[in-house]
Amino acid sequence: MSALLQLFISFFKIGAFSFGGGYAMLPLIEKEVIITHKWITSAEYIDILAIAEMTPGPIAINSATFLGYRVYGVLGSVVATLGVVLPSFIVMSIIFISMYRFKNSPYVDWVFKGIRPVVIGLIAAAAVSVGRTSLVDIKGIIIAIALFYSVTFKKLNPILAIIIAGIIGVILY
């Protein structure tokens, strides 16, 4: 089987079987790229994670682009990235089309009524887990409180907040 096809299949699997996003995907990526295909070593994988953390975008996409390039150049990175997003695209399309078809059913409305409060809890949980690793000292806590206040109550643009935080980081650390 050609390397390109293997890349595509591996990242399609990663996209299709990782629920919850972000760090929930890491064990599956590890299994595919280090153990099954031996495309990289564990040490290289940790370097890729560090880079993925420092660059924007979902970690699964970052790993796909990076590994695709390592295995098969620019074409490999395109194929791996498409592979990892294709399951999302298929599943979201099916969900959208079926809801569009049943839009007049009260069940659709009830389903959403039930999941909206859950979503708020999910995001609060994400804040807790990101906070555990990100708020490491008093300076960080002050940055977080100041930006929470500015974005929530003073309508500071969130993108501007990230840029300001980067500048504060250079000054304070």
Partner: protein, 193 residues
């Protein structure tokens, strides 16, 4: 139901692409950091989707496989401009990280050990927490608040933080409980007449 009406014209495609490109370029620290940016851009500034639709999108994105940020972009795209909208949003959302990683892979693998970059991220990491909390606060503020909803939100958070329950299971359970609850309510109402 107005909720599923595709309202945008083709003229919106470029706008969608640009908006999600911006969102993709500033999504650090996992998909949740993009939520306040989507909220500000699409719900508050451009009024392309309502707060409720935004929450629906996140719920579905969470319950489906793949990165939350990618799933949210696809769903929002469908909602606003159908299939073409979904593709515009998806490509916009993933293109910035694709280009940046490709550039790093080609020229700049030493990037991670740069001390200035490390300092920038010492500042950005707490900002991500602030942005996520801000999204939680705004969503709660705008929802029709009841004790039962507050209870559901808190139980969800505790189950994930302390018991490591998969978000997929909680989303499905929330949907099921709501359907059963409304179904029973509905039957009661019919019996009374």
């Amino acid at each position: 139901m107005e909720l599923f009406y595709i309202r945008g014209g083709e003229g919106m495609l470029l706008d969608l692409f640009k908006t999600f490109f911006k969102i993709g370029a500033f999504t650090f620290g996992g998909g949740y950091a993009m939520l306040p940016i989507i909220q500000r851009e699409l719900v508050e500034r451009k009024k392309m989707i309502s707060d409720m639709e935004f929450m629906n999108a996140i719920a579905l994105a969470q319950a489906s496989p793949g990165p939350v940020a990618v799933n949210t972009s696809i769903y929002v795209g469908y909602r606003i401009c159908g299939l073409k909208g979904a593709l515009s949003c998806l490509i916009g959302a993933i293109l910035p990280s694709f280009l940046i990683i490709l550039f790093i892979a080609m020229y700049f693998f030493q990037f991670r050990s740069n001390p200035i970059v490390e300092k920038i991220f010492m500042g950005i990491r707490p900002a991500v927490v602030a942005l996520i909390l801000s999204a939680v606060y705004t969503m709660w503020k705008k929802s029709r608040k009841t004790y039962i909803k507050l209870f559901a939100s808190i139980v969800t958070m505790l189950m994930i933080v302390f018991l490591n329950v998969s978000p997929v299971i909680i989303v499905i359970a929330g949907a099921l409980i709501s359907v059963i609850y409304h179904r029973v309510l509905y039957e009661d109402m019919e019996n009374e007449h």
